[in-house]
């Protein structure tokens, strides 16, 4: 599908404010994708405004790095898509890909999330 220049500008204004409160339009490179990154879950904050998963990744030299994957949808949105606060548990294997944070090297915007090899749909929404 091709989008005209005007349509692209419209999409930008439509999307940017929705990301701007806590991430995305300002904090993330929304036109880039990082990952997939795989690690072991250490925590899941199923809280407003945006849930996030904390996880650990073993880097190339074998050292453990602390990471976080941040969702755009709110808990309400995720619940509508079938999530609960127990959908992600410490010890689970997380594979995530999405836009990278601009300054926090180990923070990623959780666009695609797999837990123990199973893709979890997020639905839409968020602010």
């Amino acid at each position: 599908m091709r989008l005209s220049g005007k349509a692209l500008i419209f999409c930008f204004f439509l999307a940017a404010p929705a990301f701007a409160h806590h991430g995305g339009g300002v904090e993330y490179f929304m036109d880039q994708t990082r990952g997939p990154v795989t690690g072991t879950v250490t925590g899941f904050a199923f809280t407003f405004p945006h849930p996030y998963i904390e996880f650990e990744v073993k880097n190339a030299s074998g050292a453990i790095e602390k990471w976080a994957a941040v969702f755009q949808p709110t808990p309400t949105n995720l619940r509508a898509a079938g999530w609960t606060r127990d959908s992600v548990k410490p010890g689970d294997t997380l594979t995530v890909s999405g836009p990278p944070h601009k300054s926090a090297s180990n923070v990623i915007f959780a666009r695609r999330v797999e837990i123990n090899g199973k893709l979890l749909e997020q639905g839409g929404g968020g602010n």
Binding site: F10, F13, L14, A16, P17, A18, A20, H21, H22, G23, G25, V26, E27, A45, T47, F48, P49, H50, Y52, A68, V70, T74, T76, N77, A80, H101, S103, A104, V107, G125, G126, N127
Partner: protein
């Protein structure tokens, strides 16, 4: 002509009648969803999200505006001092012009014999509008409140609500427009059909704005389904909000 329509298109006419639900224009009770694009106090009608009408600042108002660092809109940046990011109350005018998108874009109106209560889902806040004919307090004799003091009256089928003594720490909207504690706020609500509520807000604040500044026409849609579900109770919880902001390095001034 209507008789002709009935004779010629009876099915169509019947359908039209059934779609036009009866409603009491003075009954505003229910859950009302703000319809996009309600992103700022005074959007440019038809412009989509992100464009606002230029505010008529006084020199002092311009200075106050420059001191506010929003995370949204044309002045958004990575260094911010939005009270929202500090879990401070949004204040009445920002509740009304709030930025929250579906599904947290609702306020509920409850009409009592002498008061109207308005509940804002996001931040789980509420305000009262006295309808018993009482006068507004003298702003010089009361302490300002985050949601101020409000009285309402009916002008025809328009509910007109006047408010004073609103705490000056709140922003008008997420784009960072300021107000002072001399602000007088007027809301005009009009239920234009069974499912649609209009709201126009006017700020009169000689400290910040050189003339009364009105919002665009905000539209709300009645959400009958939301009236059946549990309330989300969306508080701002410092022990959740601040770690999150540190995590994503939002640049907000998050601690006092």
């Amino acid at each position: 002509m209507r008789l002709l329509a009935v004779l010629v298109f009876p099915g169509l006419f019947a359908a039209g009648v059934s779609l036009q639900q009866k409603f009491d224009p003075r009954d505003l009770s229910g859950h009302w969803d703000r319809m996009s694009p309600i992103v700022s106090f005074s959007n440019v009608p038809g412009s989509g999200r992100g464009a606002t009408v230029e505010a008529p600042f006084t020199p002092e108002g311009k200075k106050m505006n420059d001191a506010n660092k929003p995370g949204y809109g044309p002045r958004r940046g990575t260094t911010r001092n939005d009270p929202l990011g500090r879990c401070e109350p949004l204040g009445l005018v920002r509740h009304l012009s709030t930025e929250i998108v579906e599904p947290h874009n609702t306020f509920e109106i409850v009409q009592l014999p002498n008061r109207i209560l308005q509940f804002f889902e996001y931040r789980h806040d509420w305000r009262e509008i006295w309808m018993d004919g009482r006068a507004l307090p003298d702003p010089a004799k009361v302490d300002p409140k985050w949601n101020g003091f409000s009285v309402g009256r009916w002008e025809g089928d328009a509910l007109v609500v006047d408010s004073v003594a609103l705490d000056g720490r709140s922003w008008v909207d997420k784009f960072g427009y300021p107000h002072s504690e001399e602000m007088r706020l007027q809301e005009r609500y009009r239920r234009v059909d069974a499912d649609t509520l209009e709201l126009v807000i006017t700020i009169t604040d000689p400290v910040v704005y050189s003339k009364p500044w009105s919002s665009d026409v905000k539209l709300m849609k009645l959400n009958r389904d939301k009236a059946k579900r549990w309330d989300e109770q969306i508080y701002c919880v410092p022990s959740e909000e601040f770690p999150f902001q540190r995590l994503i390095q939002s640049g907000n001034v998050i601690e006092p």
